[in-house]
């Protein structure tokens, strides 16, 4: 096992160095002042308390969607509706904020239950459809994301946009419903504790429970699972429901943790970013916070770079994709891997 961990660490480091080399080359080519751009990208996030707060604040939603995608990928399913679920978690926060009037604590409990349910339904739908009809979950979940986005915008525009407002946004959320801030001078909120709690919960689920065992076995060989009497479709559906619930909660928590009102661009692709978090964390819940932090750091750095230099932040999307690709490339370091895996093997009689 240790050898495997070593291989994975080397793989990650090599992938990151290649990706960053590409990044540096591109920035150098197009920027008038590449050093400043790179400085802002890599060191901007730690240049002030507020900036670092931004990193943590972005880490929170990424932990939720990273966990969701990790869970779904572990079962070898490529349902990508976490994006839609995350967005609709935010929509649920919007709806509840302006429709119920209860004490804060009760509100948050209701919010978590409702956003989890709605998220579960959204991610569960492509899963259910695949189960019943064998429709490809990749395509159906991507279509569903577009539909959910439009539906959310409709709800916002037709029910929660103040008539006199020209911007497509809701009125300000009631103060008592906002997630409490935990670090003054930043927007880091209580959701951080919820995210860490979710990490521990999902870790236990995956590695210490019967359902987790079934999820992992199904993900690694669904034929085997079926032959052994594991109800594969049920396991897959449950995985997607749990993943969707996580993404939904993430969206709700993020919306009330960071913003004062709701606009239709409240998820700048955190559901999609869940993919890179999951890939970096190798679908292991315990590594998700670290991976989420890394991605949040990059995103914050990119935003600072855009503000202070002439390099658009979108370059970071390209770099993220390249990191994903390099990590999932099994042959990238096959020679190094070969050496590590067979080291010691030849000595203890491999050749006899």
């Amino acid at each position: 096992m240790n050898k495997k961990l070593k291989v994975e660490i080397i793989r990650t480091l090599i992938a990151l160095s290649i990706a960053f080399t590409i990044l540096v080359v591109i920035v150098s080519l197009i920027s008038d002042n590449p050093l400043e751009a790179l400085y802002n990208l890599f060191l901007g996030p730690i240049s002030s308390k507020r900036n670092f707060g931004n990193v943590i604040e972005k880490t929170i939603p990424l932990i939720f969607t990273g966990l969701a995608v990790s869970l779904i990928f572990s079962s070898n399913n490529f349902n990508l509706a976490s994006e839609g679920a995350f967005y609709f978690g935010g929509v649920m926060a919007l709806v509840l904020c302006f429709t119920i009037n209860v004490p804060s604590i009760i509100f948050w409990i209701i919010l978590i239950i409702v956003s989890a349910t709605v998220g579960a339904i959204i991610v569960g739908l492509p899963g259910y459809l695949k189960n019943k009809t064998e429709a490809s979950e990749i395509v159906s979940s991507i279509m569903l994301n577009s539909i959910m986005f439009l539906l959310g915008t409709y709800i916002l525009v037709y029910y929660f946009k103040p008539a006199n407002s020209r911007a497509v946004s809701s009125a300000d959320f009631p103060d008592k419903y906002l997630m409490p801030n935990i670090i003054a001078g930043t927007r880091v909120h209580f959701g951080l504790f919820l995210a860490i709690f979710a990490v521990l919960l999902i870790y236990l689920l995956m590695f210490k429970t019967k359902l987790g065992y079934k999820i992992r076995m199904t993900g690694k060989n669904s034929n085997f699972a079926k032959v052994m009497g594991i109800n594969v479709s049920l396991v897959l559906l449950l995985t997607q429901l749990i993943g969707g619930a996580l993404a939904g909660i993430g969206g709700a928590v993020h919306t009330l943790g960071v913003f004062d009102n709701f606009t239709s661009n409240r998820s700048p692709g955190y559901g999609w970013d869940g993919i890179i978090v999951a890939v970096l964390a190798r679908n292991n819940p315990l590594y998700v916070p670290l991976a989420a932090f890394f991605v949040a750091y990059l995103k914050t750095g990119a935003a600072i770079m855009t503000r202070r230099s002439d390099v658009p932040a979108e370059i970071i999307l390209v770099i993220q994709a390249i990191i994903i690709l390099l990590i999932i490339s099994k042959n990238l370091i096959s020679k190094i891997e070969f050496k590590i895996l067979i080291s010691g093997k030849l000595d203890d009689g491999g050749a006899s």
Binding site: T133, V139, I142, L317, V318, I322, N331
Partner: protein
């Protein structure tokens, strides 16, 4: 209701249906050849987007340089196809050479495309929103003699963009190549039993890479129709899921001709959603949903039917 009937009776509407079928149709042919060779090209969406972007930038640059229009368009077409083939190569390189999962590889390419097009749009045009301020070209429309003068039908078929005819022609070519050529035989064999193909000395990876290159070229042309036919500018994410719709159309259609029929359905939905925006009181969000909803429903219905057939 009257509006709707009038709409369906107007040649204009059906002209738009054909027009909107075109980008999806080209991408569907791209999906077809790749899938036949045993690789599902999830990256079609990104390839289309890059194709749309390349067309605008290249034709615009050449225009600024004062290159005569026909030569400009010729070079642009080549650039567009090359951009698509590069996308296919990119996916093939990671999947075939570095052994990465094809699904995530395709998705990753889509991310590359989203990021890169906005990034480069800013670099070339100085705007992340769209290329309105940047003069780029469109492909010419073509009047077909004789057919042109047939009432109604002529109005629908003639006078379309050059790429429209290329798209429908590609269906015939694809059918022929798959059925009647050595190349097609090898593609089909590779998709069905790659080990058998390898055992007779054909390089499976080469066949699959070739298929991906062709797939990319076709999809990029489809994408370019959006920015050089349907409109004459580039907007980020302007492909709006058409790559995925093409994947669905291909699985549903099965054959090139079948795929074409399904894409016509999607073209219809697209055209309908555009027309409805003009005169209906349905909220715009629901109208915009139409193509996605239709894809989802069609996919589910088709998969369900196929499963039923398999079970029997």
């Amino acid at each position: 209701m009257d509006n709707l009937i009038n709409l369906f009776l107007s040649a204009d509407f059906w002209f738009t249906v054909i027009k909107l079928t075109t980008p999806i149709l080209l991408a569907t042919m791209g999906a077809h050849i790749a899938l036949r060779a045993g690789v599902i090209n999830i990256g079609l969406e990104g390839i289309m987007l890059v194709g749309a972007f390349t067309g605008v930038i290249v034709s615009g640059k050449l225009f600024l340089l004062g290159v005569p229009i026909p030569i400009n368009l010729l070079i642009s077409v080549i650039a567009i196809i090359v951009s698509g083939m590069l996308g296919g190569f990119f996916i093939g390189f990671f999947h075939l050479k570095l052994n990465s999962d094809i699904g995530i590889t395709g998705l990753a390419y889509n991310m590359v495309a989203s990021g890169l097009t906005v990034f480069l749009l800013f670099v070339f045009v100085g705007d992340k929103g769209a290329s309105y301020t940047y003069k780029s070209l469109a492909f010419p429309t073509i009047e077909i003699p004789l057919i042109k003068s047939i009432p109604f039908i002529g109005e629908i078929i003639s006078g379309q963009n050059l790429l429209v005819y290329i798209a429908f022609l590609s269906v015939i070519i694809m059918t022929f190549v798959m059925k009647k050529t050595v190349f097609g035989l090898r593609i089909r064999a590779t998709g069905e039993n790659p080990k058998a193909v390898q055992s007779v000395g054909i390089s499976v990876k080469k066949v699959q890479m070739t298929a991906l290159l062709i797939s990319g070229g076709l999809a990029a042309l489809g994408g370019a129709f959006l920015s050089m036919g349907f409109v004459e500018y580039f907007v980020p994410e302007m492909t709006a899921g058409r790559g995925f719709i093409a994947l669905t159309a291909n699985t549903m259609g099965g054959t090139p001709v079948g795929g074409m029929l399904v894409t016509l359905l999607f073209g219809f939905a697209n055209a309908l959603s555009i027309s409805l925006q003009l005169f209906s009181t349905i909220p715009i969000q629901f109208i915009s949903m139409l193509p996605y909803l239709l894809t989802l429903i069609a996919l589910v219905f088709f998969s369900w039917r196929k499963m039923k057939r398999n079970v029997k």
